[in-house]
């Protein structure tokens, strides 16, 4: 009833190729954006902004990057944390070594640096695949971790190797408030998510999917695996690198290599799988699930006044979180995005299913 396509006709090629062909989708998206840009910064508390929304947006961006690689191109990677670190350290070095460079430019350069590094570590994908590749990308993770703690030039010779981000100055404005930082992140994430959505619909995205579905067949119909795989690694790493720079500059403010350790890689992979492989929307849903559910589980007992020790709360958090992952996988192995798609199909008929 509410979500009815009837009466929406496509009369031009442009309409046929629209990102969101259905009117309701466009309205919903517009509403979400209006709320996100105007209502949220005005209404939400600092806690919600700094501890939930900003990390949620940044991790969604990183998950989009990883999803391009895993979900669209079928190459499993566990080196995402390391590439986020590349983004963070590159942005730091551009910011302090090139005076007068705007931070936005630094972020883009950081993304490009990560893309180059990601491409290098993507080379083995031409030869190995599946879980072998996944474990092989751990080499990137550990090597990058090591190099950022060992090569002192990257950390500008600080004695401990822990870095503090320079002040956030974008286009001459100095951003200090949580809502300012939130809006900056949101703007970057929205632009890049739109970019990703369009990339995956285009020629290059289709070549990735062909490789994912059957690489030998793709090769036979004329898709060059070298180009397709390495471009997926590069684009994916670009997104991940920008996310890493944002994580360091906007969210943490100060970081050490441990902020981008192997657990970060794993949690991003969880987001992509739980959210839905090969879906941009799924990245947001997955990031929300992996980030917010543990926090909520952690705060529930206190909020309801249930007297549990801190250790027990944390253990319960892990147990319930683990069970929820399994529960969702069993209910819908193709992720939360698929659940959403099913919901939309149901809404077409609702409330008159027959």
């Amino acid at each position: 009833m509410l979500y009815r396509e009837a009466g929406q006709f496509k009369t031009s090629y442009a309409a046929d190729q629209a990102v969101f062909p259905i009117l309701q989708d466009r309205l919903a998206l517009a509403l979400v954006l209006v709320v996100a840009f105007f209502a949220v910064p005005l209404l939400s508390t600092d806690y919600l902004l700094t501890s939930i929304l900003i990390p949620f947006l940044i991790l969604s961006l990183a998950a989009i990057g990883l999803n391009i690689l895993v979900g669209y191109c079928g190459q499993i990677s566990l080196g995402t944390g390391g590439l986020m670190a590349v983004g963070a350290y590159a942005a730091y070095n551009f910011a302090i070594r090139v005076p007068g460079l705007d931070l936005l430019v630094c972020f883009v350069l950081a993304g490009l640096t990560a893309a180059a590094v990601g491409m290098f570590f993507g080379v083995p994908s031409l030869r190995i695949k599946g879980f072998y590749l996944a474990v092989a990308t751990l080499a990137a993770q550990f090597f990058l971790d090591w190099s950022f703690s060992r090569i002192r030039w990257f950390t500008n010779y600080t004695p401990s190797g822990s870095l503090a981000a320079p002040p956030l100055e974008i286009l001459g404005f100095r951003i200090t408030t949580p809502s300012g930082r939130y809006l900056l992140t949101l703007a970057i994430v929205v632009v890049m998510a739109a970019l990703a959505k369009n990339l995956t619909r285009g020629r290059i995205g289709r070549s990735w999917m062909a490789i994912r579905d059957m690489d030998i067949a793709a090769e036979i119909i004329g898709i060059r695996p070298l180009q397709a795989k390495l471009s997926a690694f590069a684009v994916s790493s670009f997104f991940v690198g920008v996310a890493g720079a944002l994580w360091a500059f906007v969210h943490l403010g100060s970081w050490e290599p441990a902020a981008f350790d192997i657990n970060r890689s794993f949690s991003l992979l969880f987001m992509v799988i739980i959210g839905g492989l090969g879906s941009i929307l799924g990245c947001f849903l997955g990031a929300g699930f992996i980030l917010v559910v543990p926090l909520v589980l952690n705060q529930l007992p206190t909020a309801f006044g249930i007297p549990l020790s801190t250790a027990m709360i944390s253990n319960l958090e892990n147990m319930i979180f683990g069970s929820l992952i399994i529960f969702f996988l069993i209910t819908e192995p193709r992720g939360l995005a698929r659940l959403w798609a099913i919901a939309k199909e149901k809404l077409r008929l609702w409330p008159f299913p027959h």
Partner: protein
């Protein structure tokens, strides 16, 4: 020269311990195609169960109970995770085992506690020196490491016999080769999964005992699983001898590189060197040392 051998022997003995964890991965991957991320959590859970039960009952009884718990876990995993997810893609099953590892981490600590518990078999931990006539100062080896190596060796022998000689073992190998063919000749897949997870649980218990008596039973032994990953890609995900030999190569390579190359670049290269060795090897042989050659058709 003596020092070189000393490092190499130390590496070999450390490698045996990696093999022990890698074995658990291989068993499950071979029989059910699941990359079991929860292996580390299982090692911790098994060791915690054993050490905490041993506090309130005789050790032998605690050991039997801990085995029973791991078998119970295998049943639960088959019933609650594998059966509903049958025929899903590898990555989904992988994700499910991650959920399992979260659950086990929380569950193990909730019922058994998160302190350090000491597990002592009375194995002397003093160094001994061998070949003192050949090299100045002799070559230092650690009795405990030798003990661990013997345990791992015995375990491998037992598993090899189990796989080669018993009916169940042959059924397991049949399942590993071809699920559908095995099922069509009447091998019950679900039972096989329970058995293989129970065996992996048993391997986890042994690994937990060895690592636990080395480090003390505490959360960190769950992280030891990460050390087994390069062993897997080097040895192949499906090969028991691969896990053993891969472990030895990784252990030795890691220690030699740290001692002889590490100082040139600031040290700490152990963490990634093993992966680079494994990676270079994979570029030559993508299926690992003993992995089966993957033939693909369109």
């Amino acid at each position: 020269m003596g020092f070189f051998f000393e490092v190499a022997i130390g590496g070999l003995l450390a490698g045996v311990l990696y093999s022990l964890v890698a074995l658990g991965f291989v068993l499950i991957f071979k029989a059910s195609g699941v990359f079991n991320f929860a292996q580390g959590a299982m090692v911790l859970f098994a060791a915690l169960s054993l050490v905490r039960l041993a506090e309130i009952m005789p050790f032998a009884l605690a050991l039997m109970l801990a085995c029973a718990i791991m078998v119970g876990l295998a049943f639960a995993v088959e019933r609650l995770i594998l059966r509903p997810l049958v025929n899903q893609e590898g990555i989904i099953l992988f994700m499910a085992t991650i959920g399992l590892s979260f659950f086990l981490d929380g569950f193990g600590q909730a019922i058994w506690g998160s302190d350090i518990y000491i597990l002592d078999f009375g194995v002397p931990k003093d160094p001994i020196f061998i070949l003192e006539s050949l090299f100045e100062g002799g070559i230092l080896v650690n009795e405990f490491d030798i003990f661990a190596a013997v345990v791992a060796g015995v375990l491998v022998l037992v598993l090899a016999t189990f796989f080669q000689k018993t009916r169940i073992g042959r059924a397991l190998r049949a399942v590993a080769d071809d699920h559908q063919a095995a099922q069509s000749i009447g091998i019950p897949l679900n039972q096989i999964w329970i058995i293989v997870w129970a065996v992996a649980g048993f391997v986890a218990l042994v690994a937990g005992m060895v690592w636990g008596s080395k480090l003390g039973v505490q959360f960190s032994i769950a992280l030891v699983a990460l050390k087994a990953l390069p062993v897997l890609i080097l040895g192949g995900f499906t090969s028991v001898p691969g896990a053993i030999i891969g472990g030895l190569i990784i252990g030795t390579g890691e220690k030699l590189s740290e001692v002889f190359i590490g100082p040139l670049v600031g040290g700490g290269i152990e963490s990634w060197f093993a992966y680079v060795v494994a990676l270079l090897f994979l570029l030559v042989r993508p299926q690992g040392l003993f992995g089966e050659r993957i033939i693909e058709r369109v």
